[in-house]
Every structure is written in C-alpha cells, then in structure tokens.
C-alpha cells in the first residue's frame, strides 16, 4: 500500500510538472565513464575573488569588481542599459573624463567593447575585466592610458548574457546530454553537443535554472545571431532548437537591445571601433563591408593587433571575411551599419592551426569535444595580460592620427626666435607669435609637441617600440626652401633620444610623456642663395609615426575625424585628404642670406655631420671667391 501510494504520488508529480529529466554529465580531470568525460586538466570552478586570480572569477565577484572601479575612480561611470530575460540589470561602464571633449575641444571618439555574449566562453569576461582594470591602474601613467581617458570615450559591456553566464557558473563541471541521446547512448554521443549547464551558449528566455529540466535546455537565442545585418541567413538561424537560433526577429532580445543602448552612450555617431570578445580559436574574424578604405584601415589595424600578441608569444591571426558577405553577428552589424573597424576576437586556445593542437589539447588536455571552452585556470592570467596591450593599442590608433600642436625655435641665448601654436576646434589656425630672422651657422633648439604621446619607454627608461610594433622611432625633420639658388633640403639630425619625458635644458613634454621632442642643431650655411642680402623663406617639415605607425596629419588646420568608413581631413604631404597622412610643412621661417652660400642651384643635400659640413662651407667659400663679380 505504501509502495502504491508512493508510485501514485510520484507519477502525479511528474504528470503535473510535465517535466522530464535530462541526464546530467560531468567533466573530470582524468576519469572517463558513461557519464564522465576527462578533459586532461583540473576543471575550473568559479572563484570568489575581486582581484584577478589564476583562474576564473565568479560573476558576483566580477560584477562587484566592476562596480568598485566605478565608485572608486572618477574616470569610470556605470550605467544600466537594460535587463536580461530574467530581469537582471545589464551594466555598461564608460572610461574617460566626463566632458566628452578632447583636449582640442573636439567631440571625443568612442569605442565599444562587448563581452560574454556567449555564456560558456569564460575567457571573455576575464579578458574584458582585465582591460577595465588596466585602464584604471594606469590612469595616471602620463602616457597612453591617460591620453585615452582624456580624449576618448571607452564603453565596455563586460557581461551581456548574464543569465546564461550564471547558468554555466552554477554548473561549472556539468552539462546535460546532447539532443537525441538517451541513457543507452555512448559517452561520445552524449557529450557530442552538450547544450546546458557549463556548455550553455544562448540566453535564457523561459528557461529555468535547473540543469536537469529536459524541456528547456535547447531554448534561448544566440545573441550573436540576433542582429539586423544578415539576419536569418544561416540555416540554423530560424530553428528555435539550434545553437545559432537568431530569434523571432532581429534585435528581439533584451540583451541585444542593451548592446544598442550601450552604443548610444558613445554616442553612436562617434563610434570608431567595436570588438565582440569571444572564445575560442585565437583569431580575429574581421568583417568586410563594401567600403575599401574602411577595410584597408581595419585590416591594417588587425595586423597591428596580431603583432602585439605575437610579441608576447601568442598569435591572434586575422581571418579576413569575403567582401560583402557576413552572418548576423554583432561585429558584422556594426561593420556594415556604422562602417567602423570591428571584429570578433576569439580568445585562445587555437583551433584549426596546422601543427597546433585544438581546444583543450593545446594545453595538454585530451582534446575532448568542446574542451576549448574550458581553458585551464593556469592559462587565463597570461591570456588576460597578452590581450590588454593589444586592445589599448587599438584605442590609441582609432583615437586618430597625431598632429603638431606647437613649434618653437630657441637660439643659443635661450630666446625664442620662432614660436607657433595651433588653436581652434575643427578648424584650426596657426598662431605665429614670434618669427625672427635666423642666422646660418648659428645653433638652435627645435621643440615640437603633439596632441598625443608618440613614444613609450621600456623599463630601463629608453625609447622603445610599443609591444610588437615596428615604427620609425626618430622624428624626421628637414628644412626646405628656395633662396633663388634652387630648391634645397637639409636634414636636422633628430634621434629617438630627442623625445622628452622630463625637463631637458628647459624643454619638457607637453601633456603626456614623449608627446614632444627637442633637437639641437646648427642652421646650415650650405644653403644656395642668389644673393647675400635679405632673407630666405624656409619651411620646417616634420614627420613622425605614432606608436601604432600612423603618420601625422599633414595639415592640422582641418581636424581629423571619422566618417563614411575612413578618416576625414587626414591630409598627406601633398595636401590630399586620405588615409595615410604625411609630413607637416606648415612652419615658415626666415633666414638671413648673409651666411648662406651664394652658389649655383642645388637640388638637395645632407646636413648633420660636422666634417662634411665644414668641407661644404669651404667649397662654398671657394665658389664664392671664384664667381664673385667684383674679383673680375
């Protein structure tokens, strides 16, 4: 009787709930069985720690850390941009000062970083949080980060799919059997396509948080297939049970709507870069809309990102999409809609690289299916630190090319003989406060400052490349003109030690370390002039590459911006607006002809060394004697 009653009650409960149980499976370090799968290393569990650990932090800890950054640092502001299906607040964080203006008075550009769109990709929130942490830790670096905070608006959404992420952390070692399998299936079949628990990818509409519930484990929308661009183009996008189900309509999900709200904080029309942060594969998937200039800039940017990671022992390889094609990812959406550089960053482990094990096998694991989503705890700290500098370089690049702010020439007595500064917003004017006559053969100091830090230093304090980059470290300065004796070009010998991060003989950096250089030189006398009276107009020509290899805006009079997929008002040496920049020749000085060389026209020549210099002067004097009309 007791047994019968129990049976009836149990049957009634099952009937009432209408819920069947899915088999719960476990990932283990080294045990295989009918419901266990060895991955070959300890299976990570979420750790309650606000500070970064050798491992993966629990969502509550990550969220608390984000909130801590926002209340502790004036440079960080939080906003709620929506709620998940299960009514959890989705937070975004803005990094930068509160004035939304650059130091030049222009509206700041904005960058958007999205994290944790797919629940099981635990690498993503860690990498994004590390970026947030470094932006605050280095906020007073007087270098790249301080420049970014002063002049840009960095928007970071660290965890978009909170419901799903929590579900994966609730069951860090457990999943449910793959669709179509049952208790009699082989372990390989059961673990083939696990969909809930640790391997949940989608969001959680009408999904309870009980792992074994059979009826809801396939539910949810792939938030990276819910965009308007290319919506529904993949076969699985319209199948609600599919891993890549795109939802009933584009942007139908509260989480994707929150991402759009995050973009509005840029504001949207100021966005210049978008990254969606995923794992795994160790690549960048780089969308290519039909805009060649945008694609050229984006692909160059991706190569620089790769170089930064290569220099640290990783190799995030850019995989360039076919032009005009795409799938409904958020990276495609922003690429095609906003015409800005975007990509999907797939954090390691690698996948598909010849000669490198895939997924968890990259770390010596068994290579079990889906193990790439389970990065060993011991690898995430290195990964976080490898990717932060690459992302910061992207911001620095997309903040825009540098332009000259100030040019000064000071004579050996410490007096300014030339002083010019650019002022104004989108249209600038060059204010020349002093323009005295210079003398050939006299010593001068040339000081030039820029609107952004141009160089960084290594731990020894020496000028160095930004991680993985290869740019010209030295500024290039020439003096050109035509004194009636023909065109001439003379070089001023600037080196990488010309950059300033402290006071040198009364000259120092402007706002950020190494945003200015000072070079001492002797004004050449071997400049051909047709008369020894009066003055010759000359130009000072300045060329530098910034940390990311961008050339100067050759004409600071029109401020560089971004529109239609490319830079605007970014002039080359010849004054043409384009995407490459060039040499700024805006600085006109007067030099007395008295000490210059009365000679036949010369097209060019070198400056610098003292011995060749003296020889040229001697030759010049000879020429002067030979052709002096009064001697005939």
């Amino acid at each position: 009787m007791v047994k019968l009653t129990a049976c009836i009650v149990t049957s009634a409960l099952v009937f009432m709930s209408g819920v069947a149980s899915a088999e719960v499976l476990n990932y283990t370090e080294s045990t295989n069985s009918n419901n266990q799968l060895a991955i070959g290393y300890p299976v990570p569990i979420p750790v309650d720690s606000l500070t970064a650990v050798d491992g993966f932090r629990a969502y509550d800890s990550l969220h608390s850390q984000h909130q801590s950054l926002a209340i502790t640092h004036a440079e960080v502001r939080s906003s709620i941009i929506g709620q998940t299906h299960n009514n959890r607040d989705i937070y975004v964080y803005r990094f930068g000062d509160s004035d939304n203006q650059t130091n030049d008075g222009l509206t700041e550009p904005a960058f958007l970083i999205n994290g944790t769109i797919h629940a099981r990709e635990w690498q993503s929130p860690e990498v994004v949080t590390e970026l947030m942490e470094q932006l605050t830790e280095k906020k007073d670096d007087q270098s790249v980060v301080e420049y970014l905070l002063d002049n840009t608006n960095i928007i970071i959404l660290p965890v978009m799919n909170i419901d799903g992420f929590l579900q994966t952390q609730r069951f860090p070692t457990q999943v449910t059997q793959s669709p179509g399998t049952n208790a009699g299936s082989t372990p390989g079949q059961k673990f083939s396509q696990p969909r809930d628990g640790r391997m949940r990818r989608k969001n959680m509409p009408n999904v309870d948080e009980v792992l074994s519930t059979e009826g809801d484990r396939l539910r949810g929308v792939d938030l990276n297939r819910n965009g308007t661009a290319f919506f529904g183009v993949q076969p699985g996008n319209s199948d609600p049970d599919s891993l890549i189900y795109g939802g009933v309509s584009a942007q139908s999900e509260p989480e994707t709507q929150a991402l759009l709200a995050a973009a509005q904080l840029g504001p949207r029309n100021r966005l210049r870069f978008y990254q969606d942060t995923h794992s795994f594969s160790r690549v960048l998937f780089v969308p290519q809309p039909n805009n060649s200039r945008r694609n050229t800039i984006t692909n160059s940017l991706a190569a620089k990102f790769q170089s930064t990671t290569q220099a640290q022992g990783a190799n995030y390889f850019p995989v360039i999409d076919q032009v005009g094609s795409g799938i409904p990812t958020t990276a495609d959406y922003f690429a095609f809609t906003d015409l800005i550089p975007t990509w999907t960053l797939e954090i390691e482990p690698p996948q598909g690289f010849s000669g490198e094990p895939n997924g968890g096998a990259f770390y010596g694991g068994t290579g079990a299916s889906h193990s790439g989503f389970i990065m060993p705890d011991s690898e995430i700290d290195r990964t976080r630190n490898q990717l932060a500098p690459a992302q910061i370089l992207m911001f620095y690049h997309q903040a825009g090319p540098a332009h000259v702010k100030e040019v000064r020439l000071v004579n050996s007595e410490g007096n300014d003989v030339y002083s010019a500064t650019w002022s104004g917003g989108t249209s600038r004017s060059l204010n020349v406060a002093i323009n005295n006559t210079l003398e050939g053969g006299e010593s001068y100091s040339l000081y030039v400052s820029f609107n952004k830090p141009i160089r960084v230093r290594n731990t020894a304090g020496n000028i160095a490349q930004y991680t993985g980059q290869s740019v010209s470290l030295s500024p290039t300065v020439t003096i050109t003109g035509n004194g009636g004796g023909g065109n001439f070009t003379r070089s001023i010998n600037a080196t990488n030690s010309s950059w300033l991060n402290q006071d040198v003989d009364g000259f120092t950096f402007s706002q950020y370390h190494d945003d200015a250089f000072k070079v001492d030189f002797t004004l050449p006398t071997d400049i051909p002039v047709s008369t020894n009276t009066g003055t010759t107009d000359m130009s000072i020509n300045i060329s530098v590459q910034d940390l990311a290899g961008l050339e100067l805006d050759a004409n600071p009079a029109t401020a560089v911006d971004w529109s239609g997929g490319a830079w605007t008002n970014y002039e080359s040496s010849s004054g043409q607006s384009g995407i490459t920049g060039g040499t700024d020749s805006s600085y006109n000085i007067k030099v007395s002809n008295q000490n210059l060389t009365l000679s036949e026209p010369q097209s060019s020549g070198g400056g610098g060394g003292s011995v060749p210099w003296a020889l040229l002067v001697l030759l010049g004097l000879c020429g002067l004697r030979r052709f002096n009309p009064s001697s005939h």
Partner: protein, 368 residues
C-alpha cells in the same frame, strides 16, 4: 617484455613532446583551403555519431566515418598494460592529421571534427601515469623522502602520486590507498613538499589535505610562494575540510599576508558564522585600496542575515577624507541591494556625508 614496452612508451612520449613544441607561423586553415569532400555539416556529424560504431567498420566510406572510427578505437583503448603494438598504434595516432572538417560557427575557418592525435597523446601520457603509479606505490609508506622526490620529478609521476594519494584508483595488488597513509607519513610528506615548493608539490599537498584533512598540509599549500590555481580551488572548498575556528585562523593569516589569495580569503571570512568571525576586521579593511572592495562584498553578504546600516553610515562619516574607505562603504550598500541600503545611500547623499563629487554622481546613477 616490460622493458621493451616501456621503452616504446618513452620513445612515443618523446616524439609527442617534440611535436607539440613546434612553432607555428601560418594562420588557421581556411574553409577555402579544404577539399569540399572533407567538409561536413552539423547534421552529417550528428548522424555519424548517432550510428552504431560497428556499422562504421563496413561503411566507413568517407573521411568523417573513417576518422570517427579511428577516434572511437583510440578512445576505447585501456591504458593499463598496453602492449607494444598498442603503444605503436597510439604513437602513430598521435601524429594523425585530420581529414574531416566543419566550419567554425563564427567565421570561415575549418575546424577538425575529431582530434585523434591529442586523444592518443593523452592515452600515452596516462599509460605512463599508471606505470609510474606502480613504481611509486611501494614507496609511499616505506620511504616518504624518495616518494616525495620521485613524485615531483615529472608530470606523469605527479599525476600518478596524486591518484595514489587521492585513493581514487581501485586497490590492486601492491597498491596503496590514502586510507593507509599514517599521520606520521603524512607529516613527513608535508615537510618534504614544503621544502620542494613547486607547482607539482602543490598538486600533491592539495591531494594530501583532501585525503587526510591535514591542517599543516593546508597551511603549506595556502602559504606557498608559488602562485597556482590549485590554491584558489582549495580555498573555495575550505569548509569541506576544517572547522570554523581552523578556517578563521587560516583565513586571517592569508588576509594579513596580502597574498594573491587575500581577496578570496576576505570573502570566505565573511561567510564564517557570526559567532566566529570578527566583523571589525572587515570594516577595517574597507579603507584598504586593494582589498577594500572585497571587504565590501563580504559585508554586503553579511547584510543578508544581519544588516547594520548605521555602522556603514558611521564608517562613512568617520572616514570622509579617505577615498578608498568612502568608496568601499558606499559599495557595501550598492552590493547589498535592498530597499534599506538604497535609503541609506540616499541618506548619505542628503545629509552631505559624501565629500567626493564624482562619487555623488555615481551614487545618483545607482539611485535613479
């Protein structure tokens, strides 16, 4: 025969290790680079996996079926007592190059469907582990110093020793389970592993403490200078092994050391029973620029059972000039996320206890 087998195993492992260290210059395999007859859809893959393995033996006509058959064969191999032929087979399989691919869901790269090579490498490794287990087993009680030295010599030895210490391996002739480790032997091993202080010794200290609940082993593990995820894992489950009082002592030590475990230790500390923990410690740490936020989370969680909003207000009032103390006090109230905590935040704003303008802006954002 045994020697020949083990030689074959070592040669195989050496080849595997060499293979894994090759640098890679090129990018991933693109879909466009893979012959179309080697690319399979999700439904192809599901179909092949759902079939009876035996069926493939006669119908393995495409590369997907062939690879699946090979994968299943490797997976089914029992690593204890592998023959020379089996080691040779695994060695060959460890160099297998994939011939069945699917498209990556996010972009145009080709991903191997089965990773036969990695599975074979792991089988070889585990074969070595089981061999080393036999070597180590007799030493466990007889010669702890040699056991400690050998167990940290190679990854396979460490794994073997760990399995022995965990007692997770079914007993067989000559094998020893953790249950047979005496406390004297445990203490000797703890001393040895403390002295060695390597990643391997941490693995074994953790196995020891999990098996024996030995306090000294836990202390040695958690206070080691080595950084390791194992320490975080262990700390996460500290309550499984020690009394509240023992935990309190260990956690206070970690907090005082300000090690990489300090944030986690502070949060764990707040989870101790109210009768055990010292709330003053948590409030004192609110002024710590590095650990104050962890303390805030810890206090916020305490508020779920015993809120003390007045104490937070008083803390703000008493530390009005300290950015860290003020920010973390506010954070307590934000993370508590109750009607009372919001009212307290509003109160702090209204009564002018908050001196920092940027914090006022952020708190207003929280409240609106």
């Amino acid at each position: 025969m045994k020697n020949i087998t083990m030689t074959a195993l070592y040669v195989a492992l050496g080849l595997v290790a060499f293979k894994s260290s090759q640098a890679v210059e090129r990018g991933p395999l693109l879909m466009s680079e893979v012959p179309s007859d080697q690319v399979y859809s999700e439904s192809d893959i599901t179909a092949i996996k759902s079939q009876d393995v035996e069926a493939h033996k006669s119908t393995a006509t495409n590369s997907l079926a062939q690879e699946y058959q090979l994968y299943i064969k490797v997976k089914a191999m029992v690593v204890r007592g592998l023959s020379d032929e089996e080691i040779s087979f695994l060695n060959q399989a460890s160099r297998h190059k994939a011939t069945a691919f699917q498209r990556h869901p996010e972009g145009p790269i080709a991903v191997p469907v089965f990773d036969v090579a990695s599975l074979a490498k792991h089988k070889l490794f585990m074969a070595d582990v089981y061999h080393q287990q036999k070597e180590l087993s007799p030493l466990l009680n007889a010669d702890p110093a040699s056991f400690a030295r050998m167990s940290t010599a190679t990854p396979a030895n460490t794994q073997a020793a760990k399995l022995l210490l965990e007692g997770s391996v079914p007993k067989a002739d000559g094998e020893v389970s953790s249950a047979s480790i005496s406390s004297t032997m445990t203490n000797l091993l703890v001393d040895q592993y403390k002295h060695i202080d390597s990643e391997s010794s941490l693995v074994l200290l953790k196995a020891l403490v999990e098996a024996t609940h030995n306090y000294s082993a836990a202390e040695a593990l958690l206070t080691s200078k080595q950084k390791s995820p194992l320490k975080h894992h262990f700390l996460e489950n500290l309550g499984n092994y020690f009394s509240d009082r023992e935990q309190e002592v260990l956690l206070k030590q970690l907090i005082a050391n300000e090690s990489e475990l300090a944030s986690q230790a502070l949060i764990k500390y707040g989870q101790l029973p109210l009768s055990t923990l010292d709330a003053d410690l948590l409030y004192t740490k609110l002024a710590d620029p590095k650990l104050g936020a962890s303390s805030a989370l810890s206090i916020a969680r305490l508020f779920e059972t015993s809120p003390d909003y007045d104490r937070v207000i008083n803390h703000v009032k008493a530390h009005q000039k300290s950015r860290a103390a003020t920010a973390n006090s506010l954070l307590v109230l934000k993370l508590a996320d109750t009607a009372e905590s919001k009212a307290t935040l509003q109160d702090i704003l209204d009564k002018g206890y908050l001196q920092f303008e940027d914090m006022k802006v952020e708190v207003n954002t929280w409240l609106n």
